[in-house]
Amino acid sequence: MEEILQLLQDDGRISIEDMAAMTKKTSEEVKAIMKKLENDGTIVKYAAIVNTDKLLNNENRVRAIIEVQVTPEREHGFDAIAERIYRFPEVKSLTLMSGGYDLQIIIEGKSLQEVAFFVARKVSAIEGVKSTKTHFVLKTYKENDIVLVDQKRDRREGVTA
């Protein structure tokens, strides 16, 4: 099962036949494993990983990491505030952290202003949020295990012993 998951994580569009051949399983067995991984939520979805620097309209895309300090609620701890935050579609990622702050938001917007506005109007205004610190992303070098700034080239000599 792990081997199938690893192959899919590496290439979400790999064919069932190839996976079957590579792991010495039948296509039916591979399909059953995928179904299981999909049904139990291990595989959330199959999506493209995009290098946003390559997008034509990337001038209109701003990414920021926001550190948020909150006061946890007696009943729900951090979960209720987290839910209020992650429901916004602008929020790409939300994690509870140890250390100097509590929640880390990764957010995307069209402009600095839009992101700043979102933080001021939406995040800061949530009850229990004590403070926010916004860091804008200048360049992404690596994401989801993939180095985005590299050019891969096979440097090996053609025929060797």
Binding site: L7, A21, T23, K24, G158, V159, T160
Partner: protein, 392 residues
């Protein structure tokens, strides 16, 4: 131009160039060719090792090391070899060399006399025969193609004479990927002890074994430490071909001789490579396993596609080669490989360059991206079909 007639060594003039050279020249500058002709991983060296070398360069650690190699590396090697039930003393039984290639050369020169015979199990890596011949030794080319491409003790005993000094083994094998089964290895070990023969065991592919196969070193059998010479290195499993780093393990009295050769010919292996290799042994196991699994998956893909195409092959158990049987096409291995490059844009290595026993086969290296492997296989299939159509 020097016009002296005997300006070159006769011995060297008699040494043929590697059969691979011709194919190397054929594909120079050709971007349209997919090469399954390489003999190395398609991964760069894992970063943890590159970073280690980088650190030592930065610190200015650029000197010679002891002829033996860094003690910290030899100690790591000794620890690592315990996984194969080998117990070598890092201070007098392990020597770090410039790849397995130097180790083969040094050991052969340290043990062979002109009247000796050495048994070389073919098909095998291209350097064994010429290096042995440079010692004026008689080569006994032992054909393993009739015994499923590994030597058996029974057949070996038939070619052993009082002059036999050594046997050269490689398991998992380049070019076939076959392994010598453990029980056979044990019989060969007994044979070696009975006839007092050195066994040179090239184990450079020991980490790259697939499915339920487990590597077994001939040196691990009782009494074999006195007869076995273990040759291993970092090129294949650790993806470090360009770093040129390997090692030899043998009894201290032989090591004294090997050490002299190594000292006079190379002094020591490059220091950065030694630091990087030590780090690989300390913390690189998971990286090695990732690469091993990837080769295994590609091997499975190759065998499954070749089965579909009805093209026979020798089932590889390790390394990253598959020995494809092309006898049905009626072409010699060399003609097949030449035609395949010129007309179908795929480079493979004819089995005959690894010894006569490899005739009728071509070696395909599957350490290449899957997309290219599939295209290459389609092209091979097309050529086989075209030939069969012509023949019928």
């Amino acid at each position: 131009m020097n016009e002296r007639k005997d300006k070159f060594s006769t011995k060297m003039l008699e040494t043929p160039p590697s059969g691979i050279r011709k194919f190397f020249d054929l594909i120079i500058g050709r971007d349209d060719i997919i090469s399954l002709g390489v003999g190395e991983p398609d991964f760069p060296t894992p970063w943890l090792m590159r970073e280690e070398a980088y650190y030592h360069l930065e610190q200015g650690h650029t000197s010679y090391t002891s002829n033996w190699g860094l003690l910290e590396l030899r100690e790591e090697i000794a620890k690592y070899l315990q996984k194969y039930n080998l117990d070598y003393n890092p201070k007098k039984e392990i020597l770090v060399t410039i790849g397995v290639s130097e180790a083969v050369d040094a050991v052969l020169r340290a043990i062979l006399n002109p009247q000796d015979e050495i048994i070389i199990c073919e098909p095998c890596y291209v350097s064994y025969q010429p290096l042995a011949e440079l010692c004026d030794t008689k080569l006994i080319r032992f054909d393993t193609s009739n015994t499923n491409f590994y030597p058996t003790a029974e057949e070996l005993e038939k070619v052993i004479s009082p002059k036999t000094k050594a046997i050269m083994l490689c398991s998992p094998s380049n070019p076939t990927g076959k392994m010598i089964p453990k029980d056979e290895l044990e019989k060969i070990a007994k044979l070696a002890q009975k006839h007092k023969i050195w066994v040179l065991s090239d184990e450079v592919y020991s980490e790259l074994v697939y499915d339920e196969n487990a590597h077994c070193s001939i040196a691990s059998f009782p009494g074999m430490k006195d007869y076995a010479i273990v040759l291993n290195g970092f090129s294949k499993a650790f993806a470090m071909t360009g770093w040129r780093i390997g090692y030899v393990c043998c009894p201290p009295d032989l090591m004294e001789q090997v050490h002299k050769l190594h000292q006079y010919s190379t002094i020591c292996a490059p220091i950065m490579s030694q630091y990087a290799a030590a780090e690989g042994l300390r913390s690189g196991a998971s990286e090695v396993e990732k690469m091993r699994l990837s080769y295994q998956q590609r091997r499975n893909l190759m065998t499954s596609k070749l089965d579909e195409m009805d093209i026979p092959y020798i089932e590889p158990e390790g390394a990253f080669y598959i020995f494809v049987d092309i006898r049905k096409t009626g072409l010699s291995a060399e003609d097949f490989a030449t035609k395949l490059i010129n007309e179908y844009q795929v480079a493979v290595v004819p089995g005959s360059v690894f010894g006569k026993a490899g005739e009728g086969f071509v070696r395909c290296c599957y350490a290449t991206e899957i997309k290219k492997l599939k295209i290459a296989l389609e092209r091979i299939k097309k050529m086989v079909q075209d030939l069969q159509r012509k023949n019928s």
